[in-house]
Symmetry: C2
Subunit: 398 residues, 2 copies
């Protein structure tokens, strides 16, 4: 086959790639997006979108369809998984929405991807292709050759690698590998009527305990309860899948308070999700190729910011990639804005997870400290959710 010439190629049709395509198209570019799977689909479960993400969706013109499918909680609640006592709460109601000019919502991953896909399909400038598994990438100063497993070859003016945690394009700028944490997740939504006991349908609830946690929130107008159970396996070994089994899951959670112990019985235990991230890197760009989303900055899920940061990336990319500007120059400006902020989020997510999983006297002092905070004290989260977060990060450093 002869090469297909495309001005701008996005590799990866997940939340990051789709929103990048949308952002670039809205900025006046023709975009070609390729996805390795046969269909555009998000596996898994629910997703949290903090105000920094809902503001980005607004900029991309897809907030309205997202809100139609989302649940807007009034509270983020943290409880101790051992004794069941509340540790802290963050009021994400009116005052929160007013402060951050956007709501905190939760929805099914599939619903977010559908909204993005619908918007991409409605854009004349976007072409979407599935079944394109990238196997090699050749970079020259003003063009990139991308070869797929099915023989398709693209000759692109510039490429955005939105190909996830195990990004192939990341190899152009770094030889690092995903870092295993020894933690594994089991997740999925369950019909609400199968859940015994009282459930808050107005809250995102996280139960935190020694080396484990459980997140619960409603989806689809409260018909589903999304659950994510995460624990550190005592049997973790590198380069093995023989750890973090459903038996371990049940054994670990069985010692927690009754509400938490009962929750894992309902979880889908057929899929285990080992948790990874990577260290922040100082450069995402190689000539006219750059990275976006998990390919650029995979992070642990403790701040629920993986998709949110990809959406921020997409908005920034669209702003920097003005027509006529040299792609490499645009990518350099994009990464200059994004690397400090995403690095801080990666590091903070790790620290936040460490805090959740403390044991012994450290757990006790954490609970005392967090209990002293007020539900309307937003100062500590302004850096993350704040409206000027993008511009503020460069000034504040870390």
């Amino acid at each position: 086959m002869s090469p297909i010439d495309v001005p701008l190629l996005v590799v990866g049709g997940g939340i990051g790639g789709m929103s990048a395509a949308l952002s670039l198209a809205r900025a006046g570019h023709r975009v070609h997006l390729i996805e390795q799977a046969a269909e555009f689909a998000e596996v898994g479960a629910g997703l949290q979108l903090a105000p920094n993400a809902t503001r980005a969706l607004d900029r991309l013109g897809v907030l309205e369809p997202v809100l139609r499918r989302a649940v807007q909680p009034s509270l983020l609640q943290m409880l101790d998984a051992v004794d069941g006592e509340e540790i802290s709460a963050l009021d994400v109601g009116e005052a929160f929405v007013a402060r951050y000019h956007a709501p905190y919502v939760v929805l099914h991953r599939h619903d977010l991807l559908s909204a993005l896909l619908d918007a991409c399909r409605a854009e004349e400038g976007i072409e979407l292709e599935t079944n394109r598994h990238v196997i090699s990438c050749g970079v020259e100063p003003d063009r990139v050759t991308i070869t797929c497993a099915d023989g398709t070859v693209y000759r692109a003016g510039a490429v955005i690698g939105a190909d996830g945690l195990r990004s192939r394009l990341r190899g152009l700028v770094s030889d690092d590998e995903p870092l295993a944490t020894g933690y594994v997740a089991y997740r999925g939504p369950v019909p609400v009527d199968r859940v015994a006991g009282a459930i808050r349908m107005d809250a995102v609830v996280v139960w935190i305990g020694p080396g484990l946690h459980l997140v619960q929130y409603p989806l689809r107008h409260g018909q589903l309860l999304n659950q994510v159970a995460v624990f550190r396996s005592d049997r973790y070994e590198p380069h093995s899948d023989d750890w973090g089994s459903p038996e371990e899951l049940r054994a670990r959670f069985s010692t927690m308070c009754p509400a938490v112990a009962a929750s894992v019985e309902l979880l889908d235990q057929s899929m285990r999700w080992p948790m990874h991230d990577r260290q922040p890197i100082g450069n995402w760009t190689c000539g006219p190729v750059t990275l976006l989303g998990d390919a650029a900055h995979p992070m642990l899920q403790y701040l629920a910011q993986g998709a949110c940061q990809a959406l921020e990336d997409a908005v920034e990319l669209g702003e920097q990639f003005v027509p006529g500007r040299d792609p490499e120059e645009a990518f350099r400006a994009y990464q200059a804005a994004r690397i400090p902020r995403t690095g801080r989020v990666q590091a903070s997510a790790r620290a936040w997870g460490e805090l959740w999983h403390l044991d012994g006297v450290a757990r006790d002092v954490r609970n005392r400290y967090l209990r002293a905070r007020r539900a309307d004290d937003f100062v500590d989260i302004d850096w993350l959710y704040g409206a000027d977060a993008l511009s503020a990060v460069t000034a504040s450093g870390s």
Copy 2:
């Protein structure tokens, strides 16, 4: 040699044994005290006496000579050994003294023992002997036979084992062993004029860091600075002395803030003190034999309560051992009052040490939590220093 008949025998001439002898004599008993060393002497360094201990000394009639030799600080200060920043402070000035009806003082261990020794020698009812190393102990319902290495045999109506961490008499009630912690201490006073840099002469200062800490306070009217440097050795192995070396000490403290790093250069590095405690036990009494001080409840030093609890033991023992009462009955009443409280202090000392030695995000949250406390907030320490601590403990449980 024919056995020496004594009504009451105290085994051990340290702070616990000496104060027990004094308390029993003041209660109207004739007391025989034996010590294995050739002289009554306390090795080591300084000692902190919290109000619960100075009140006990007052009851024993030796507070006045102790205060003459002690320094009375106005502040207990806690700093972060890594960055040198203050974490918290407790004002132990007038309001503290008024609340607890006694002062917080520091002095040389030798000076406290001297004051107790002088008081014992001034008591007609007390006989003191050195060079008596106990090698066996035979218990019958109404008498105890104690045999020493030099052939001396005592036939006692009752025995108080104040023979320290490695108590021989504890073997009558428990087969437990001292628990090594992997921590080692280096300690000793240094002349103040050898110390470079500013020193607070009105404070007990503790620098806390990941797996280590340093305590500093003035002794002898401010002529000496007492120092205790403690760290967890990475090379710890059970049943070995080949860990916690001076080289490790210097290497570990060299990464701390300059004031802390410099301090260890002045420390006497010829003696290492591995740190031990034991689990609390539920019975100290076997017939007419009971335990007191470290023999009964050895504890980690993090609350500086080892000597303080021995002094409390002595006062309680004197109160329960009324003339004419059956010794075993008196000992049962004594341990009923003392075991819950000393068990709580042992457990709290461990937890307090764990808190001091936190690293990472746990260290950060600890500092934030402790910084929020006021210097005159005494509520958390009432249980330990409070005037009704002895009677309150039984009610409060743990």
